[in-house]
Subunit: 152 residues, 4 copies
Amino acid sequence: MIRGRAIQVAVIGPSECSEEEAAAAEEIGSVLAAHGATLVSGGLGGVMEASCRGARVRGGLVVGILPGQSEGNQYLSVAVRTGLSHTRNFLVVGSADSVVAVGGAYGTLSEIAIALKQGKPVFGLNTWDIEGVAPCTMPEEAALKALSAGRP
Amino acid sequence: MIRGRAIQVAVIGPSECSEEEAAAAEEIGSVLAAHGATLVSGGLGGVMEASCRGARVRGGLVVGILPGQSEGNQYLSVAVRTGLSHTRNFLVVGSADSVVAVGGAYGTLSEIAIALKQGKPVFGLNTWDIEGVAPCTMPEEAALKALSAGRP
Amino acid sequence: MIRGRAIQVAVIGPSECSEEEAAAAEEIGSVLAAHGATLVSGGLGGVMEASCRGARVRGGLVVGILPGQSEGNQYLSVAVRTGLSHTRNFLVVGSADSVVAVGGAYGTLSEIAIALKQGKPVFGLNTWDIEGVAPCTMPEEAALKALSAGRP
Amino acid sequence: MIRGRAIQVAVIGPSECSEEEAAAAEEIGSVLAAHGATLVSGGLGGVMEASCRGARVRGGLVVGILPGQSEGNQYLSVAVRTGLSHTRNFLVVGSADSVVAVGGAYGTLSEIAIALKQGKPVFGLNTWDIEGVAPCTMPEEAALKALSAGRP
């Protein structure tokens, strides 16, 4: 009998993003799924959707922690409908064993800050330059470091 | 490629329960998993743990929406760490397509009330007698009715 | 120098109500303010607004714990904008030293259940008949009993 | 009859702070109260408590939006007990018409980010150097600018 859960990695970033950011997020999701990790995200568009697509196509388990009562993007395996609006950012990060940030503006900054306050490992790709965030240059690098850092 | 999510059924009830309630919750979890549903619960002990055990043993996907930053019971496939204390009750019910209540005191009553306010189907086994809750006499009956009512 | 806070009494009830319920809620707010209590409510219309009006006209301090980012009704002294949707019900009750429920449907039932779970005194006027709610027949009676029960 | 609420200014900062930060926060609270503003804070110690003390001594209205079910510091006029842990940071900022940040680490950074995402004016005193935060050099300056920016 299988017990216990897989490592949970959050990919955070804006709901509107560049093609480059989307490609990076998709690759990160794919690498996470290939290693058996569960992807946690805010469940909407942009970086969130791209990471979900990458993970789901690879057969991964994809959890969307949504701001409202909607269904989120089409790649979610599980839809957690919070009704908490942006406050759900706390739950995305709180549910993660490690975090990868791709791009992003103030919303992503709030999630990075919460993750760092909770002492979680945060890896960044073209995102805020905040002390505590480990900058990465390649998507696969970010995903692999998050997998390694999030393991118990 | 697989898209979309399975039906999500919440099993709600107290963190301390009778053996009879635990047996009922376990059977409900098992029936839900056998039909491919995702089980959503508060992720702790009692009725919650019994339903999770029933679903996980049967190979089901089990989501625990936890009050704090803890790991929850050992049968969770996914741990959503909310840090919201009892307020997470809203999220358990909000994430459900239909709800089964087993036993319970005031916490369960709050979840029943939230579910009914959101217009969700609620099936009850030896729980509060509130207008809008469909009373059931057998665990399998409650599970099957919740599956049927939660489908789009 | 003044330190410490006044007793905080929550008046809960539906956002749409009968004239009789509004009159009762207004009187309760007035009595609470006359005794120096702070009124806590969900800050919107119906029973909420009527109780706020009664308290504010009498010079009372009125706190609205709002579901969104709006301003709430015009009688609030303080607007707490939660962005939590109905989940803010937990905060209304959590911030109360005692609770008066006037009328109400499932939303009010969820607040009653949360209050009882937290062990708070709940007084009811024409509301749900739940074990633990002390039924009252007159608005002034409900207000005075809530004042008395909420004192440390 | 008095209607409407006073401007609400949040003073944010760490629960442990230097004497200099405490003195600055206290002066800010005092200036805000002298101008009739309502002070909103997280209601605990450090910068929060110092700002509350400054405002309350001056006769101001002081609202503490608390993480748990506790009473918060002794200078609160109103205790909003959220039970949401750090997630209450969103509510502190959401309830503010403008924000003053004093010092601070990751928790304060999360609040700054949320405020900027919500488009609220943020004034900083010896805090994070984030685009969008208007740096100030004197406590009175920060308070007066926040009062001016928060008015409708």
